[in-house]
């Protein structure tokens, strides 16, 4: 970790958020929980899981930890923060899909996000398989490199996008990216999409379908039939990931209680809950998904529905959701974390804090802040440690 990186890490800790790319370094204690989650990754456990913790107690940290570990294990991962005010609404699977594409990461790619690394890797696999001259997934996907049709992928849009991407033309790739990042924007631009991704590329492949068939079949529409193509696209990403020698596709949802607080239409909230159940059912998406919530999430959902007068809802569905609860950090674990923070702070600002702050002083500070009975005790302890170190260095400057 160089000073610039360390400063970025300290800045994240200063405002109480887990430092991107270095979460594992600051993961202390919770060995049993970490082992359980690691085992899920190693065994490619399918399905979804609610990750429960109070605010400030490590939900986002845990999601980022999982992301880093999953990438190390060879998964492709997307971390999505729900935000009903910014087109990341959980009742809209097309918006969720767009956010997933935007947050997509592949292993060993320096944290670069988005569709490009993944599709570039897929195209590399396709190209490298051409020389093998034998049947394979890529041969089937491209219909022996003719790209005229495919029944390997479920979502026709993914096939069209990948086919266009494989031309290597930057302008075309930009269009594919823009479309997948915001599919709802292009819902009314289907003729443009047809021309740009199919019509003008006839020198690269020959799609036998007529233009009207694309429109009639809703190929450019991610909202039709209860977002069927959005769900299909998720399954295709998972399938492509596995065929490209990744272990699969994992989706992490942060700020999931946005569903309760910021989706203000009860119909939309019900749709969001249904999507949650679909993820848990494992039929519409067969990869792994994790949802960060507070411990009372299920109760909050049920209360919300009751307050809106929905008495005949199957409330048992909430109770059946698999959960995983994080235990609070102990004082000893916070102490361990404090030492790590002190070390990084020293790297960040080029000083030796352990020469100024005695270990006993650090322990006393941790003990004091950790003794305060608040939900976000962990966050406040971290912030207080950084604050104290900041004061020390500024006093000696």
């Amino acid at each position: 970790m160089d000073p610039s990186q360390a400063q970025r890490v300290v800045e994240d800790l200063r405002i109480g958020i887990p430092p991107e790319g270095y979460v594992f370094h600051f993961t202390v204690g919770r060995k049993a929980e970490v082992e359980i989650l690691d085992n899920r990754l190693k065994k490619s456990h399918k399905g979804a899981l609610l990750l429960k913790a109070n605010y400030g107690s490590g939900k986002t940290h845990l999601l980022r930890f999982l992301k880093e570990r999953a990438l190390e294990e060879g998964y492709i991962v997307s971390l999505v923060a729900l935000d009903a005010k910014s087109a990341v609404r959980f009742n809209r699977m097309d918006q969720i899909l767009g956010a997933i594409w935007r947050g997509l990461e592949i292993p060993n790619n320096n944290g670069s996000k988005g569709i490009r690394p993944f599709f570039n890797e897929i195209c590399t696999k396709i190209e490298s398989s051409k020389s093998r001259r034998k049947s394979c997934f890529w041969c089937d996907l491209t219909h022996e490199w003719r790209w005229d049709f495919s029944d390997v992928l479920e979502a026709p849009s993914i096939f069209i996008g990948l086919r266009a991407w494989s031309t290597g033309m930057k302008a075309i790739q930009d269009i594919v990216e823009a479309w997948f990042f915001e599919p709802w924007v292009y819902k009314t631009q289907r003729s443009k999409l047809y021309y740009q991704l199919i019509g003008q590329l006839k020198n690269h492949f020959r799609d036998p379908r007529y233009e009207w068939q694309f429109y009639n079949d809703g190929i450019f529409d991610f909202q039709i039939q209860a977002y069927a193509q959005s769900w299909s696209a998720l399954r295709d990403i998972h399938k492509l990931a596995i065929e490209a020698c990744y272990r699969g596709f994992i989706i992490l949802f942060d700020e999931f209680e946005d569903v309760i607080h910021n989706l203000r239409n009860i119909k939309h909230q019900q749709a969001a809950f249904w999507n949650l159940f679909e993820f848990y059912g494992g039929k519409k998406f067969d990869g792994m998904t994790y949802f960060a919530v507070t411990p009372n999430f299920a109760k909050k959902c049920k209360t919300l529905l009751l307050q809106k007068g929905y008495w005949d809802y199957d409330y048992s569905l909430f109770d059946k959701l698999p959960t995983f609860e994080m235990s609070p950090l102990t004082a000893e674990e916070l102490q361990e974390l404090a030492i790590k923070i002190m070390e990084v702070h020293g790297i960040a600002y080029g000083w030796e804090p352990d020469l100024i702050m005695k270990m006993s002083e650090l322990k006393a500070l941790v003990a004091k802040t950790a003794s305060v009975q608040v939900q976000d005790r962990a966050r406040q302890t971290i912030k207080e440690i950084v604050k104290h170190l900041d004061r020390l260095i500024e006093d000696i400057e």
């Binding site: 800045e11 910014s86 823009a178 203000r264 600002y349 604050k387």
Partner: protein
């Protein structure tokens, strides 16, 4: 130019308000904070996103501080956008309007140096300077804009994957208006205005699709992503970063409906959570202490937000603090004296021909002490504000040959300040 600036400063101080420019000429007490901001934040600003909060009661100097900050950030080759988070201009619960406000108020160092605060299209200036930088091999001194430089700039713009495609398209079309064969000036001005309207959220998407080939307008769905694109564009264009000074001037949060307040707080939380992903962005949010502590509309009602921001501390603000509490900034009588001498120096620059009529430094120091004794320590009006206003009035009296006691001056100015408030 120096006299002009000095006159402008004195005129503002005469009214008891901070001048648009030249706040550094008479500031005191901010030295450590400013130096720390330079060292810890502006140095390396291009590598990370930063957010800080300013807390200050009415008259604590938030506006003064923001203008000081603006000056130093321009000196560090950053863009600055000063956005008032008011109901009318840019309410925080509607982030797209905040983005529009950022675009409307963004300024480059060169525009600031030209003293062109009335630039009608400040973002247009950013785009033009970007073209010069990217097209003429990084020479900000400028050069001939031709097809070669245009193509070079477009190539570099399109290669940046962190900028939204429609954002890039509009920038490219704006650049086209500077090509030698472009249409006559009036038409090009119109095209530029239309493009800038897109960035400001005006106009219908249909027209933009037909004329410029974009597929969306900047709206609530994508405003946060567009902010990311804006920051990326700024860095690409050779500036070190984009500093956004949010001023909650009207305490707009206290008049919001409950749902709007929640949206505003959620938007702020989203900014905090995502700032790390926007290198080159430095957000500074100034508000009053009630924002942090009010049980009805303060952030204390939203645990996730309060947990990240915290509360103002009763200690002198330092750069690394999350909240810079200007109310805790203690100014000594000696510092007030130093400020007074600085104001005297500015006054002499403003009215050099009357130098012999103005009190010398020793007299000024005595005057400050007398004034300090006159002002109640618990007064609602800050002594700083009293000082600058009374001092200028004192110098004006001397200039005009009038003699008033310190008490008379004090009473007169206090009456005026109370009326102004």
């Amino acid at each position: 130019m120096e006299q002009r600036l000095a006159l402008s400063v004195i005129e503002s101080l005469r009214k008891g308000i901070p001048p648009q420019r030249g706040t550094d000429l008479y500031s005191v007490g901010y030295e450590k904070l400013i130096e720390g901001i330079k060292r810890h934040h502006l140095k390396g600003v291009e590598d990370r996103g930063i957010i800080r909060f300013v807390s200050g009661s009415w008259g604590a100097g938030k506006t003064h501080f923001f203008r000081l900050l603006r000056d130093i950030t321009f000196a560090e080759r950053c863009l600055v956008s000063n956005v008032e988070l008011s109901v009318n201009e840019a309410p925080l619960n509607k982030f797209e309007r905040v983005f529009y406000g950022i675009i409307r108020n963004v300024m480059t160092p060169s525009v600031y140096q030209e003293d062109n605060s009335t630039e009608s299209a400040p973002f247009g200036r950013v785009v033009r300077e970007s073209l010069i930088y990217l097209g003429t091999q990084n020479s900000l001194a400028g050069g001939e804009l031709n097809h070669e430089s245009y193509s070079r700039a477009v190539q570099r713009l399109m290669a940046d994957q962190g900028i939204d495609i429609d954002f890039k398209k509009m920038i490219q079309r704006y650049w086209e208006t500077y090509l030698p064969e472009a249409a006559e000036a009036a038409i090009q001005d119109q095209v530029r205005a239309e493009i800038l309207q897109w960035f400001s959220g005006e106009g219908a998407i249909g027209a933009y699709r037909r004329r410029f080939g974009v597929n969306k307008t900047i709206n609530k769905d994508n405003a946060k992503l567009m902010l990311q694109s804006l920051a990326g564009f700024v860095r690409l264009s050779g500036f070190r970063g984009l500093v956004i000074l949010f001023d909650e001037a009207e305490q707009s949060y206290s008049t919001m409906r409950k749902s709007a307040l929640k949206d505003a707080q959620n938007n702020l939380l989203s900014l905090i959570n995502n700032i790390e992903a926007i290198p080159g962005l430095f957000l500074i949010y100034a508000t009053t202490p009630e924002f942090y502590t009010n049980p009805k509309y303060g952030i204390v009602i939203y645990g996730a937000l309060a947990g990240r921001i915290g509360k103002p501390e009763e200690r002198s603000p330092r750069a690394l603090n999350t909240i810079w509490n200007l109310d805790a900034l203690e100014t000594s009588i000696d510092e007030y004296g130093t400020a007074a001498k600085k104001i005297r120096a500015v006054y002499l620059k403003a009215y050099p021909e009357d130098a012999d009529k103005i009190p010398d430094d020793n007299e000024v120091e005595k005057f400050v002490n007398d004034l300090f004794d006159e002002h109640p320590s618990l007064s609602a009006v800050r002594f700083w504000r009293v000082l600058v206003t009374v001092l200028v009035a004192h110098f004006d009296d001397r200039l005009e040959g009038e003699v008033r006691s310190t008490k008379e001056l004090y009473d007169d100015v206090m009456d005026k300040l109370r009326e102004a408030d």
